[in-house]
């Protein structure tokens, strides 16, 4: 998290922190284990009133601004979400609201109001099932047929799909008479004929995901967000936003677990000494403190780079996701080890953060995948590729 906040940012962050402490206490998180939705509608509406869903939306579309750098401000909320292992589809709702604001037609933008006031949540389907679960080998087919689009394929790990009235779907359009080949995005009502949802189980107590299947789904061509076959830049921007928010959220969870474990090391005595007095353990804490500060640093740097549209933004978001994914999980597992047996019980709070980190590690690209993306960026930098005929996701 940023070392220095403006007074507005500080107020904004503290408000969310206080709200989450009161409305998403650990007892509530445990209760949500058996809740099919994963959050209360009043909770989400109140959060929306605090500004959780308005920061990536243009002011003309009803958005609000704290510092003028919306993604940096929203990363403060994401960080608090991590620190409290908070419920709710923060990332997908904001990405969808932003996508509509940037590329939507006037009628598509009518969907924004409900996202802003918290009466609706957003769902974004981009990733698919193995072996096509990489970010750049999407196979979901969006074909133009007269004044209709035909959608076929499976989107997997779509957050909050069962709650959303509409889905934002990212797919691929093959070259044809009427369209260039490339990525295409559509906004479709979740209830459209041919769409079926399979709810997924998962490690996190409150976050809910679905597999969404499209079988010959026909929607009017006006469902396209932007232009057919030309969504590459929009998708990249959405991906960067989502990666920044996921990284910030992971850092919050790391911080909470680390603070908890440092406290424990002073409180817990073995052989007449606090755990904090053993050098073997002190050095592990030093390593964890280093991973944690490095995670703060790269997560903030990525947020800043995306906000400012810097050339190194694609590399930094992948570096943030790769680093936080890998070392976040290592830090949490070390926290478990330092707690001993209590660390693997449901009664202790540590697993709430372990679950959140474990989930984030896999969402929108594992550490390995982001490392490969970085290698690809370096390759392109050093030897620009020949012009491609097909579209690609990045």
């Amino acid at each position: 998290m940023l070392l220095e906040l403006s007074s507005d940012q500080e107020f904004f962050q503290k408000t969310t922190a206080r709200f989450l402490a009161e409305n998403a206490p650990v007892a509530e998180l445990r209760r949500l284990r058996d809740d099919p939705v994963g959050f209360r509608s009043t909770y989400w509406r109140q959060g929306a009133e605090l500004g959780w869903t308005s920061l990536l939306v243009a002011e003309g579309d009803g958005g609000v601004s704290i510092s003028g750098r919306g993604l940096v401000d929203l990363a403060l909320v994401a960080y608090e979400f991590g620190r409290h292992a908070a419920p709710g589809p923060l990332v997908s709702t904001n990405v969808v609201a932003s996508a509509l604001s940037v590329a939507g037609t006037e009628s598509q933008k009518e969907l924004i109001a409900a996202l802003l006031d918290g009466t609706a949540t957003g769902a974004w389907g981009i990733t698919e099932a193995a072996p096509h679960d990489g970010l750049s080998n999407l196979t979901f087919d969006i074909a133009l047929d007269g004044d209709e689009l035909v959608l076929n394929g499976v989107k997997r790990t779509v957050e909050s799909a069962s709650q959303a009235s509409h889905l934002l779907i990212t797919g691929r359009t093959r070259a044809g008479a009427a369209a260039a080949a490339g990525l295409t995005q559509v906004i479709v009502p979740t209830g459209t004929k041919g769409i079926s949802l399979v709810p997924m189980s998962g490690v996190d107590l409150s976050r809910r995901f679905s597999v969404v299947k499209f079988d010959q789904v026909r929607v009017p061509a006006s469902s396209v967000l932007g232009r057919v076959g030309e969504a590459g830049a929009d998708v990249e921007r959405q991906l960067q936003q989502a990666l920044v928010l996921l990284s910030a959220e992971a850092v919050g969870a790391m911080q909470a677990a680390f603070d908890m474990t440092v406290e424990w090391s002073f409180d817990r005595y073995s052989f007449g000494r606090p755990l904090a007095s053993y050098q073997a353990l002190k050095h592990r804490f030093a390593l964890m403190a280093t991973w944690l500060q490095a995670s703060h640093a790269i997560s903030d740097e990525a947020a800043s780079a995306v906000t400012d549209g810097r050339d190194d933004a694609p590399e930094l978001v992948s570096a943030a996701k790769a680093y936080v994914g890998q070392y976040g999980a290592e830090l949490l597992q070390d926290c478990v080890q330092l707690h001993g047996g209590i660390g693997v019980t449901f009664e202790h709070d540590l697993h709430l953060f372990l679950r959140r980190i474990t989930l984030i590690r896999t969402l929108l690209g594992t550490p390995d995948e982001h490392q490969r993306r970085i290698a690809g960026l370096i390759s392109r930098r050093l030897s620009p590729p020949q012009p491609l005929t097909g579209g690609s996701a990045s």
Binding site: L3, E4, V262, S265, F266, P274, A276, S277, Q279, K282, H283, F285, A286, L287, A289, T290, Q293, A294, H296, A297, I298, D300, E301, D312, E315, L316, S318, A319, A322, Y323, D368, H370, Q371, R372, R373, I374, A375, G376, I378, S379, R381, L382
Partner: protein, 425 residues
């Protein structure tokens, strides 16, 4: 009192001035500087580089760009760390006096500024800023590395002078340097930290023998020195008699700051660590025909990740210490990160090079060759400048506030502290 109000030069005006100087007077950085750690620099090349860097330091001084954060009364510019960052940014891609920075500007100059007398500062600070004095640390000893306060090099007072005897080690480039900052024991009858004093002396003083150490990779960058009846006037003592650890602990602090110190001039992105980033790994994988191998791609991405995370962490720690939002001991966090990150990247380079990393044909294996030599030296970055274990102690004890290690030597007169197996057995 007469208050003379001097307006601080604006950042923009400073930037213009720095840019004009750099473009007019400095040469572009060598495309791939030979690495002293790899041991492929001859003495003649090293001495020529030192001479050129003294010239560059002098040119910076003449242009009003040396000692940006050093007070004006000692020849500095009296400006802020923000000005120094601007200079570093403008220097990107240009030569700079690298051998004049660490340890001369930090920790040596930093220690002088904090503990030197007015006379000492007036004599040495301007000379340092002009490139006339390159300083080295006479700190580690053969019998005490991490335990620097266990120094046994001894200074005995004789009238207005001190007579020093003992040996020091791991001084970088002592054979071409001018002055040494030396920690010595002045009292054996009190506890370890209570009997130390800090001195300075010209390295070419009578009684100092400098011997170069050959590292396992052939590098002769480091030296050891033998001090035999070296006479140092009391006016060259820094800080009080027997209170040298007050100086010493700040000395360690300034050493850990290293290139993050606002006293250090170093082009942005020029740290040696950037050498083993993604582009280098890409070149190795390319030479080995492995660019399409997903495992190789992951290793390239991992190296680049560690590199850019390190850059972000350095900025964060520097900003945090400057604005007091992080403990000033947090530089140990960057130190630990840097050691672990660089060792991992050395391993990655060696891994990507395959067998040619360990056995190569000269002039034939190109980018694949010689990485095994770097691998042999891999741990050097976790040892030099304070070990990563000491950094871990600092982080846990001073940043996180965990209990200090039990040290039996604190209670004893230093003379009675066990210093080897035979003496304690």
């Amino acid at each position: 009192m007469n208050h003379e109000v001097e307006s601080v030069e604006s950042i923009e005006s400073f930037r213009e001035r720095a840019r004009a100087f750099i473009r007019a007077k400095l040469q572009p950085a060598a495309p791939k500087a030979a690495s002293v750690v790899r041991g492929d620099v001859t003495d003649e090349e090293e001495l020529a580089a030192v001479a050129r860097e003294r010239e560059v330091q002098r040119a910076l001084f003449d242009a009003g760009l040396a000692g940006v954060c050093v007070p004006r009364e000692y020849g500095g510019q009296g400006l802020t760390p923000a000005h120094q960052r601007v200079l570093n940014a403008e220097l990107r891609g240009y030569e700079y006096p690298s051998r004049a920075q660490v340890p001369t500007f930090t920790p040596c100059l930093a220690v002088l500024l904090e503990f030197g007398t007015e006379e000492q500062k007036l004599k040495h600070v301007p000379a340092i800023l002009k490139g006339e004095e390159l300083w080295m640390q006479f700190l580690s000893e053969p019998s005490s590395g991490s335990d620097v306060a266990g120094a046994i090099t001894t200074a005995v007072r004789k009238g207005d002078e001190w007579i020093l005897n003992g040996s020091k080690v791991w001084t970088t480039g002592a054979w071409w340097s001018d002055w040494g900052l030396c920690l010595a024991r002045t009292n054996w009858e009190v506890s370890k930290h209570s009997g130390l004093t800090v001195f300075m002396f010209p390295i070419k003083s009578p009684g100092i023998e400098v011997r170069r150490i050959e590292m396992l990779n052939g590098s002769k960058e480091f030296c050891e020195e033998f001090l035999t009846d070296v006479r140092v006037p009391d006016t060259d003592r820094i800080g009080g008699v027997d209170t040298g650890w007050t100086v010493g602990s700040r000395w360690m602090f300034y050493e850990r700051m290293g290139r993050n110190s606002p006293l250090v001039t170093m082009p942005e992105g020029s740290a040696r660590s950037s050498g083993n980033a993604g582009a280098t790994m890409h070149a190795i994988a390319d030479a080995g025909g492995r660019l399409t191998d997903p495992r190789a791609q992951e290793l390239i991405g991992e190296a680049q990740t560690l590199h850019v995370v390190g850059d972000a962490l350095r900025r964060r720690v520097t900003q945090g210490i400057t604005t007091r939002t992080l403990s000033d001991q947090s530089s140990a966090i960057f130190r630990l990160y840097a050691g672990l990150s660089e060792t991992r990247r050395t391993t990655i380079a060696f891994e990507l090079a395959g067998s040619a990393g360990a056995t190569w044909v000269d002039d034939d294996d190109g980018e694949l060759a010689e990485w095994g030599i770097d691998f042999l030296m891999r741990q050097a970055v976790c040892i030099g400048g304070g070990t990563t274990e000491m950094a871990a102690n600092v982080i846990s004890e001073r940043v996180l506030g965990m209990p200090r290690e039990v040290t039996p030597d604190r209670e004893l007169a230093f003379r009675n502290v066990p210093r080897s197996r035979s003496k304690s057995g």
